[in-house]
């Protein structure tokens, strides 16, 4: 199987940046191959409840774009797929893509979900950051694109129940990995980010204390489509949450071993957003944000912080907590900190502690960099040719980067960088227009 040509562009990564780039390119009449490693496009943004600073519903903005990608005559979605090899040069890249089997025939599956109901195997749901279960045959999330079931080979026991109940006859255990060869004139890379391991900061107890969560776990907990349907219940005992703390810069802005020296750039604001969400759920909940410096630098950011503080009563304390300890009798968490405005040393009790860990580039970046001939920095972010005047160009002509994979940025920055990368790719594919 092969396809494409010099008027085609390969987009690697189907998060908000990859989606934006793909749509821009496709709307200019170019053929786009959008390759996504996960079974659905959507990326991290699909996991978010709201966006800052406008407090819009994230999936409500994202889902129409995802569907547009799916329906666009110029876009071919290749999900559950990886770029394996790239040869050639600008204007004529030859790309090998590996498509992993879903064991579900995409032409037959209607996305009805009956197979999922009947599947007896429950495993932690990655979309909900492991806070809830999913089945071995599953649709990644309600708004998944493509809305197709797939079987997770790591857990499926081949009991055949799904095969029996699928009225469309879509289950196909005979599927094999498939390799596809594509031709593309240019490549846009948008592989996004993951969270660093918060247990690196051992004194905060992540992984040891049930009521210490990462911000992305909390984002799922507070989301109406999350594991508790948006009810703020404590993981250890299902108790209603009344006292919540956020800790900023967990594993970042530090030279300690295993920590990242840089600022992840979005945590001050998403913590503010999540704190407001908590207050909107229940105004009586006490919310404290422990911050290093409050970095509210974007348009409307400072106003959102003021709103959180003045209108919602969110408390901001400038402190780097030294320790989170658990009271084993109650599961409550005690935070020790020095308020660096008042120099007071305080111990404060919380029901839930939310850590904002360093955001890091996707773990596959280094391998992908080798495949594409790109450079990564010491943290694994793709290096731009010149971060100041050509932020989406790379050292390889015809290959462009955008979004979080080249350095920390928020959604709107990712989007305009994606449009920029798309434009640069068009110049390669369509000619500079002299």
């Amino acid at each position: 199987m092969s396809g494409g040509g010099s008027k085609s562009v390969l987009v690697i990564g189907g998060g908000i940046a990859g989606i934006q780039a793909a749509l821009d390119l496709a709307n200019r009449g170019l053929r786009v191959y959008l390759v996504e490693r996960q079974p659905s496009i959507g990326g991290r943004m699909a996991q978010l409840d709201k966006t800052f600073p406008t407090m819009d519903c994230a999936i409500c903005i994202l889902a129409p774009k995802m569907i547009e990608c799916d329906r666009h005559p110029n876009i071919e979605l290749l999900t559950n797929a990886e770029v394996k090899a790239v040869e050639g040069s600008a204007g004529d890249f030859r790309v090998r893509v590996l498509i992993r089997p879903r064991y579900v025939d995409p032409d037959r599956c209607t996305g009805c979900g009956v197979c999922t109901e009947r599947c007896p195997i429950e495993v932690p749901d990655e979309f909900n950051m492991g806070l809830g279960p999913r089945k071995a045959i599953y649709i990644p999330f309600p708004q998944a694109v493509p809305r197709l079931a797939l079987i997770d080979d790591r857990y499926c026991v081949r009991c055949g129940l799904c095969e029996r109940v699928c009225e469309a006859g879509a289950i196909d255990f005979s599927q094999k990995p498939e390799e596809l060869e594509l031709h593309a004139g240019a490549i846009v890379v948008a592989t996004g980010f993951s969270l660093s391991d918060a247990s690196v900061v051992g004194e905060y107890g992540y992984g040891r204390y049930e009521n210490v969560l990462t911000a992305l776990e909390f984002e799922r907990l507070i989301c109406a489509s999350g594991p508790t349907r948006g009810e703020l219940l404590r993981p250890s005992d299902g108790k209603k949450l009344k006292r919540i703390a956020f800790i900023q810069c967990v594993g970042s802005r530090s030279l300690r071993p295993g920590h990242k020296p840089y600022c992840s750039s979005v945590c001050c604001m998403y913590a503010t957003k999540e704190a407001i969400l908590v207050k909107e759920h229940d105004p009586d909940v006490d919310v404290v944000i422990f911050y290093t410096d409050l970095r509210a630098f974007g348009k409307g950011f400072q106003r959102l912080v003021e709103k959180a503080r003045e209108e919602y009563g969110v408390k901001y304390i400038r402190a780097k907590p030294s320790e989170v300890r658990e009271d084993p009798a109650t599961g409550d968490l005690l935070i020790w900190y020095e308020d660096t405005f008042t120099s007071e040393v305080v111990e404060k009790r919380f029901d839930l502690v939310i850590l904002c860990p360093a955001l890091v580039p996707s773990e596959t970046n280094r391998e992908l960099a080798k495949t594409l001939g790109l450079e990564v920095d010491e943290h694994g972010f793709f290096r731009a040719a010149d971060p100041l005047i050509s932020p989406t160009d790379t050292h390889v002509p015809g290959i462009f980067v955008c979004g979080f994979c080249s350095g920390p940025k928020d959604i709107s920055e990712c989007v305009y960088q994606a449009s920029c990368a798309a434009e640069r790719a068009m110049e390669v594919v369509l000619g500079a227009g002299r």
């Binding site: 051992g202 107890g205 040891r208 300890r325 658990e326 009271d327 084993p328």
Partner: protein, 292 residues
């Protein structure tokens, strides 16, 4: 298993019960203790005043152990860290190693820094093993609920190899449970005993010990198990003053793990030096149906 035994100054000068109980229980578990006749202080107390004096004192003990071709078994957390820090320092600074060897050569000693230094916790947990300790129990401590205190120097700094995890150590609890007792977590589990502050801010140091003890009392613990003579001095020895300073009850029976192990192995309390403990260990003993 043969070790060169290094009890450290504090155990030999005032915390006799630690050495006494260690000498009782370890040989029973197949750990042969060889005395170090030319021993000196590990150097830690003088480190802040004269780093070279510290390095020489710690280096001399390591050099003797190397000459004897035996690993060191250490009782005190401070001594253990002192030796580890020196091993680290001579790797960082070869000039320091040369200087030390120049000084040590007067006694015909030579330091390479290759000798293994083991804390009694490591010997019991990693070498003797939980299973062998379970087999050695004659009188199960079933029904006792105990709390563990590791001591800062045993688990920190996290950048040096230490016997257990700096944030979530578990080996002492495992050893306590091996004797049939259960263990209790408590929020102040990793808090300092206050000893590091004792020489300069005595009252604050004793308050720290008191906070820790009262946090243990709140859990309804039957006793606190320690591994370091300095921690013992604070947590066992300063309860009356801590009570006065904090204005609340801080009474908790405190004993060394080697004493607890000895009780479970059937030794009499006096054979383990329990009559030297200053905290109300009688309460713990009567809970076990044992009298002093």
């Amino acid at each position: 298993m043969r070790f060169l035994f290094f009890p450290g100054c504090t155990a030999q000068a005032e915390q006799y019960a630690y050495e006494l109980s260690a000498r009782r229980v370890l040989p029973e578990l197949g750990v042969e203790l060889v005395d170090l006749p030319e021993a000196n202080c590990c150097g830690y107390p003088i480190k802040a005043v004269s780093p070279m004096a510290w390095a020489y004192l710690a280096g001399r003990v390591l050099a003797i152990a190397e000459r004897e071709r035996l690993d060191l078994l250490v009782l005190c957390n401070g001594c253990h860290l002192s030796f580890y820090e020196l091993k680290w320092a001579i790797k960082q600074d070869r000039g320091l190693l040369e200087k030390l060897n120049e000084l040590l050569s007067r006694e015909g000693l030579e330091l390479k820094g290759e000798v293994r230094v083991l804390h009694v916790l490591e010997v019991l947990h990693d070498l003797v093993g939980v299973k062998a300790i379970q087999r050695a129990v004659k009188k199960s401590l079933d029904g006792l609920r105990l709390s563990a205190h590791y001591g800062c120097h045993l688990i920190r700094p996290s950048t040096l190899p230490r016997p257990d995890d700096p944030e979530d150590p578990r080996k002492l609890e495992e050893l306590i449970r091996a004797l049939g007792a259960s263990t209790l977590d408590y929020p102040a589990r990793l808090d300092c005993c206050g000893s590091g502050l004792a020489a300069f801010h005595g009252r604050e140091a004793i308050k720290m010990a008191g906070w820790k003890l009262s946090s243990i009392r709140e859990t309804g613990s039957d006793g606190l198990v320690v591994l370091c003579p300095f921690c013992m001095k604070m947590l066992d020895g300063k309860q009356a003053i801590a009570r006065r300073l904090l204005g609340r009850d801080v009474e908790v029976p405190v004993l060394y793990y080697t004493q607890l192990l000895g009780l479970a192995m059937g030794f009499k309390p006096r054979e383990l030096g329990l009559h030297l403990n200053l905290s109300p260990v009688e309460k713990l003993l009567s809970g076990m149906g044992v009298s002093m």
